[in-house]
Structures are given as C-alpha cells and as structure tokens.
C-alpha cells in the first residue's frame, strides 16, 4: 500500500474502511472481537445481578439508597452524545473531509472524558460514604462491572487521542481509515454496554 497516494473526495472509495485486503481482515476481526466482548460483559452482568444487594448481615448499602440518578443521567447523555458525534466523524471519513472528521472525533473524546470524570467522581463519592470495593459482594460486583466499562472508555480515549495526533499532519489514507473506523465501532459498543448498565444497574436498582 502506498501511503503517499493522494485522494480527492471523488477518488476516495465509498467504503474506505474495507477498501484494502488488510482492512477487510481488521474489519471482520474487530466485529468478532466485539462478539467476545459482549460475552465478557454478559458474564459481568449476570454476576452483578446474582450479587446485587448481597453482603454481610449488617450491609448498610442498597441500590435504592446508593445510586443518584441525576448524575448518572448526565453521564448517560454525555456518552450517548459522544456516540452521535462519532457518527458525524465517520460521515466525514467517508466524504474524505479530514479536518471535520478530526474535529468531530475531538468532540467525541471531549465528551468521553467528561463521562469518565463524572464516573470517577461517582466512585469517589461512594468510597467517601464507605462503599469501598471490599465492602460486600455487592460492592465488588458493582465496581467490577461499571469499572470494567469505565476502563474500556479510558482505553478508547487513549486510542482516539493517539490516532488524532498520529495522523494530524498526514491526513486520511486507506491505512488509517480502518483504524478510525474500528475506533468508532468500539465506541458504539461501549455506548451500547452503557445503555445496559444504565438500565440494569441504575434504573432497575432504583425501581426493580
């Protein structure tokens, strides 16, 4: 592959993310990886549901009292919006508009960072209350499930930051188009997992 090949929006392929042989492999491989990740989170969800509100005899924390929906709602909005902005970025990727793509990805990363900061605040707040990791089976399951998701967000942020800076000077080519595209797949996946966390952990924790 020639990285120096110059494209115009007219010569840029319709599906740049799968335009080369290696790109097709990465594309399929990443989808399969997300399949495995789905099972990984499913296991965490199942364990959380089994251990929800379970602890030693004098457990003082329950989902009803602990969770604060307004904060979680703001986090949800940030992450859902970041998924939308990554769609805009992919729209510009397909139209060979590098500057706008970078801009939208920057906004995506910014929103993701906002989510992560709020999550750290949320955890910090719980720890201040005494709901630490080793407090109970419930606390372990909660922090492991939500924390694994947060860890995925952090990985995604590092990933997209590296991509944005690495390619800032050289623009789009068929080598990095797939990298951008798989990032967006990953980001959507994280978003979907969060939708389930919001529902299963927080909403069902309040009313279920």
């Amino acid at each position: 592959m020639d990285l120096n090949k110059k494209f115009t929006p007219e010569t840029w392929p319709d599906n740049p993310e799968t335009a080369t042989f290696e790109a097709k492999n990465k594309f399929v491989g990443f989808w399969l990886f997300l399949g495995g990740e789905t099972i990984l989170f499913a296991t965490l969800f199942a364990t959380y549901l089994a251990l929800k509100n379970k602890g030693p005899a004098n457990l003082e924390f329950s989902t009803q009292e602990l969770y604060e929906l307004p904060l979680v709602f703001v986090m949800t909005m940030l992450l859902l919006t970041s998924s939308l902005t990554s769609v805009y970025a992919m729209y510009h990727l397909r139209n060979y508009n590098f500057k706008k793509m970078q801009l939208w990805l920057g906004i995506t990363a910014f929103l993701g960072l906002g989510f992560l900061i709020l999550e750290v605040y949320e955890f910090y707040h719980y720890v201040q209350l005494g709901f630490v990791y080793s407090n109970s089976a419930f606390s372990s399951a909660f922090y492991t499930l939500v924390g694994t998701h947060g860890f995925h967000v952090a990985i995604g942020l590092v990933w997209i930051t590296l991509l944005i800076f690495r390619n800032a000077k050289r623009g789009l080519n068929l080598y990095n188009a797939t990298k951008y595209y798989t990032f967006s797949l990953y980001w959507h996946f994280i978003d979907v997992v969060w939708v389930f966390i919001f529902t299963v952990v927080y909403l069902m924790g309040k009313v279920g």
Binding site: G29, G36, K54, S134
Partner: protein, 624 residues
C-alpha cells in the same frame, strides 16, 4: 532468500525465530512449547500413578499430591493439548485454504508468546514454594482459602495464556472467512479447516467467561473483593457456573480439531472421498452449538433442582447424536476403500472404539440420577481420559505423524511410529479401562492414597503399569523425532502419495510465502480432482505469477507479553512487599507502551518480487 538464510549466524537465526510472524514457524513453535508441557504434564501423571500404585503409599505428601494433580490437569488442557492443536491449525489450515498466511500475523505471534509466558508463569510456582492446589477446576471455596501463592499463579498464568487463545481464535476465524482461495467455498473446505473454524468460534465465546472468572478469583484473592466469599454475601456457585460455561465448550474445542484430523486421515488412507461430507460439517456445527448448552451437567450434584438437571441431562444426551453421525461417517469412509494402514491410520482406527467408549460413559453420566452415584469417583476420571486421551491425544499423535513431513520436510520412521502406537494404545486402555470399575467400587477421585483391604489394590497397580506403557510409547516417539531430525531425509510434496487437499501440492516444508500462485479450487479434495484429471502438479493457478505482499517480523509481541508477565508478579506480591504495586504498574505500563508503539509505527509489509518467485519455481522444476 534461502541462500541468504544459510549464511546467517546463530544470533540472527534466533532473532528470526523470536520475531517470526510466519504461520508455519509459529506452528512449529506452538508444537515445541506444547510438546514441552506435554512431557511435563506426563511426568506429573507418572508421579500420580506411582503414588497410587500401592495402598498407604507415602512417597509424596497429600499437599504435594494436590499440587501435582492440579498442575497435571491444568498443564495438559491449557498448555499441552490446546497449543499443540493450535500448532497444527497454524501450520496446516492456511495451506488447506490456499492462503499465504493467517489474517493477523502479528497477533498470531502475540498469541504464541502469551501462551509461552503464561505457561512459564504457571510453572514458576514450582520454584516459588507452592504450586496451585485447588484442582484444575479451581473451585472457589477451595481456591480462595488456599494458602500461599499457588492459586495466584493459576489465576494469572491462565489469564495470560487464555488471552493468547482468544487472540488465536479470532485470527483463525478471520483467516477462514476472508482468505480462502478463489473457488474454495465453505462447503469445499477440508474437514480440518471446518473443525478449526468451529473450534475457533467456540474459543471466541467460551474464553471471555474464563477471563472474567479468573479476574474474580484474582480480585478475591489479591484485591479484597468478595465474589465467592459467602460471609460477605458472595456465592461460590458463581465460579462453578462461569468455569463450566467456559469449561464445557473447552472440551469440544479440544476434540473438534482432532475430529478434523481424523477425517483427513480416514479419507487419505482409504483413498476415498470422506463419506457424508455435508452431514460431517453439519454435525460439527451442531456439536459446537450444543457444546454451550450443557455446562450444568458438571454440576448435577450442586442442587440446581430436578428441572434444571432434567433439561441439562437431555441436552447432554442430544450431543451423542451428531457425534454418532460422525462415527458412522468415518466407518463408511473406510467401507469399500483401498485402505493403507500407516501410522496415522492406525491411530485413526484405534481412535474409533476408544472415543466411542468415552462417549458412552459420557451419556451414562448425562443421566442425572446415575451421576449422583458416579460423581467424584474414578469413573469420572476414566471417562474424561477416554475422551481427551482417546480422542484429542490420539488425534495429536496421529497429526504429528501425518503432518511431520509437511512441517519439517522429513518423514518420521513408520516402524517406530507403529511401536509408539501399540505401546501408547495398550497402555492407555490398561490405565483407564480399569478405573471405571474402581469408580464403581467406590474409590473417590483426587485422594492421595487409600487404605489396604478395600479391593482396590490390584486395579490400581494395573492402572499404574499401563501408565508406564504410555510413557514408553512417548519415549519411543521422542527417539523417533530425534533420529528423524538427525537423518533429515528430504521428502517430496506428497510423501503419503494420496494427499487430497492443497497442502499436499506444495513443497515440504512450504516456501515462506506458501503458494507461488494462488490456487483455483474446483471442488472438494481439489488436489485429488486435479490429479484425477491428469494435472500432475495438483494445482491450477488462479492468477499469473506476481509480486506477493508479506508482513514484517516483529519483536514487539515478546515485549508486550513480558509486560503482562511482570505485572502478574507485581499483583501477586502487592500486599506483602513494597515493590509489588510499582511492579504491577510498571508491567502494565510497559504493555501499553508496546501497544502504542505497535499502533503508531506504520507497518505496511513488503513485497516478494516476481523475479524471486520465478527463480523458486525454476529450482522446484529442476528438483523434479
């Protein structure tokens, strides 16, 4: 290329192997690593059998016995059987579909080194005072109270090796989906490719639960979590579910590739098309699917209730149907065939009754009420050794003889091969057949010794003598390998003379880019078809000779894995030492830096020029 290679010194030879991304070399490395651990696990098995040969034996202590049985099981499953199968998948599957390499050569290397470092991590426990001692299933109630660092080695070592397996699984899947040669439709794929495909799909969905289970165990033991601690609201049964949701598919991950290997062997040495190819494929897919539906049959006595037990009992017995389909297809492949009893064929013929016996005892245990009687007795030990040794290990030994010439360019001695077979086969049945009765007579599994006068003495002695036979068989095989390598008599493309699939139409060992021209596939058993139609080369090229794109080697996989290895020690000694936490952070940071380097540095590969390929083709013609 090859003339340059001969002038290299030891350093660059070693560098070449450490950085290789060539699927054939990685296959050989998997075979070496897996072979090493197979011998190690075998030595552990011998110690077990020597200890149990006579009653009231005090050769080894109860604690050491627990460590040895734990490490025997863990080593054989994760570090011997799977890697050796990965070795054959790597070396052969891309050749069977007419590909030049796997889809992700870099990840292939990463998976290999994760297996090797994970295996080393696990076995370093022997030198650090305590090996894991909670059984290969490491049930949580035992595992979280096990003292010392034994179980920590288990949790982290398997985490690293398991990650490698997941990577390999995804890699094989994409290879088969995207990289088949023109004309190689799914229903023209050789059976070994099919079983690799299904086993890889099972790896993709079975290993993430193991990852999570091991993390829970790690967090419970090292970071104060309470997943399995009943006093803190935890539930130890969660581990059993998670482990078996992984563990049951795992046994099919082990057996399906062996089924594939035997399918190839029956077809080659009966000189007949595989009987019922379509039903064979369908049965493979069905076994893969049902394999995920039966995990709770390992937990009948836990007390899940009669409804759950009944459902899982029926699902378990249902697996016997597609397996039976396969058995009959193999028998009917031989029926009317022109059979040549070579060493691989001998293994294949021996496999059928052995595996059927293992399958039948499996259905017996599938009946939940009977399982209450058989649970935790030697009957179980006999059963799973009949399926794993009688299926997977016989398959591995058969494949070793079958594919040795393709992988190494020289043929294992057939006479010694048959000697190995008979020692191993007789020893295997001698060791494990009698254990069914030991189970009926009430001998529990996992006991380090037993009292005199319970009627178990002679049966145990017979079993131990059988183990010696198996050991002799393996020693003969090792001798065979050494002698063959020393003599190193080169062989032709198709040393067995009846190869049917693409790997037998290229050189042994293949050129580093495999095919000079990508082949055109016109049907099942394409080389056989070409030869029947008078095309001696066995291949019709799909494209003219052209430049070939190849990936660069890389040292990054080893360094990336090294980071995880270091982080593992950090996590383990985090609480008792001051350097534990910094080491954990350092190891993880190291791995992430390696990942960043891999991501930031463009790696576009290189082209093998057309001239070099034409040169190789000319030399190949000259050789004939």
């Amino acid at each position: 290329m090859s003339s340059v290679a001969q002038k290299k010194g030891f350093g660059s030879w070693l560098w070449d192997w450490l950085t290789t991304v060539d699927h054939k070399k990685i296959g050989i490395l998997y075979l070496l690593g897996g072979g090493f651990f197979f011998v190690l696990g075998g030595i552990e098995a011998m110690i077990i059998r020597i200890q149990l040969a006579v009653p009231n034996s005090d050769l080894i202590s109860a604690g050491l016995f627990n460590q040895i049985i734990t490490m025997h099981g863990t080593t054989m499953i994760f570090l011997a059987a799977m890697p050796i199968l990965f070795g054959f998948m790597n070396a052969i599957m891309p050749l069977q579909i007419g590909a030049r390499d796997v889809a992700f050569p870099f990840l292939n290397s990463l998976g290999l080194w994760m297996f090797i470092f994970g295996g080393l991590f696990l076995n370093i426990s022997w030198f650090m005072g305590q090996a894991p001692d909670a059984g290969w299933t490491s049930y949580a109630s035992l595992a979280i109270t096990s003292e010392g660092h034994g179980v920590d080695f288990y949790a982290i070592g398997l985490q690293i090796a398991g990650g490698g397996s997941l990577i390999a699984g995804i890699n094989f899947l994409v290879t088969i989906i995207n990289m088949r040669a023109p004309g190689m439709t799914y229903m023209r794929m050789p059976l070994f490719t099919w079983t690799t495909f299904i086993a890889s799909a099972m790896i993709l969905f079975a290993f993430p639960p193991l990852t999570i289970g091991l993390f829970f165990l790690t967090f419970d033991r090292m970071f104060g979590a309470n997943f399995f601690d009943h006093a803190m609201g935890g539930n130890t049964i969660i581990w059993e579910h998670i482990f078996w949701i992984f563990g049951h598919p795992e046994v099919y991950i082990l057996i399906l590739p062996a089924f594939g290997i035997f399918s190839e062997i029956f077809s080659i040495f009966s000189r007949k098309r595989l009987f019922g190819y379509t039903s064979m494929v369908f049965a493979t897919v069905l076994i893969g699917f049902l394999g995920f539906m039966v995990w709770a049959h390992h937990m009948f006595t836990v007390g899940l209730g009669p409804t759950a037990n009944a459902i899982f009992a029926v699902a378990t017995m249902a697996i016997a149907v597609p397996t039976g389909v396969k058995i009959f297809n193999w028998l009917l492949t031989m029926w009317g065939g022109s059979i040549k009893v070579t060493t691989p064929m001998l293994y294949a013929i021996g496999f059928i009754p052995s595996f059927v016996m293992g399958g039948v005892t499996g259905v017996m245990q599938g009946a939940a009420p009977l399982d209450y009687q058989l649970h935790d007795t030697y009957f179980i030990v006999a059963h799973f050794h009949y399926v794993i040794v009688g299926g997977t290990v016989l398959g591995i030994l058969a494949a070793t003889h079958l594919y040795w010439p393709k992988m190494f360019g020289t043929m294992l001695n057939e006479t010694l091969g048959k000697v190995t077979f008979w020692f191993f086969f007789i020893g295997f049945h001698m060791t494990f057949l009698i254990q069914h009765w030991l189970g009926f007579w009430g001998m529990p599994r996992r006991v380090f010794t037993y009292m005199d006068g319970q009627g178990w003495n002679s049966a145990n002695l017979i079993s131990s003598v059988g183990a010696v036979f198996m050991a002799i068989g393996v020693i003969v095989l090792l001798y065979n390998i050494i002698m063959t390598s020393v003599k190193n008599v080169p062989v032709a493309n198709d040393p067995w003379g009846d190869g049917r699939t693409l790997e037998w139409a290229i050189q042994s060992p293949p050129l580093y880019y495999n095919f000079t021209q990508t082949p055109l596939v016109r049907g099942l058993d394409s080389v056989w078809i070409e030869k029947q139609e008078g095309n001696e080369s066995g291949i019709t090229p799909a494209v003219p000779v052209q430049d070939i794109h190849m990936p660069h080697g890389s040292i990054i996989p080893i360094f990336m894995t090294l980071g995880m290895f270091i982080a593992g020690f950090g996590a383990m000694f985090r609480e008792e030492t001051s350097w534990g936490l910094p080491l954990l952070v350092f190891g993880l940071a190291w791995t992430f830096v390696c990942m960043a380097i891999r991501s930031l540095k463009d790696d576009l590969g290189y082209y093998v020029p057309k001239e070099e390929i034409l040169e190789d083709m000319k030399r190949e013609r000259g050789r004939k």
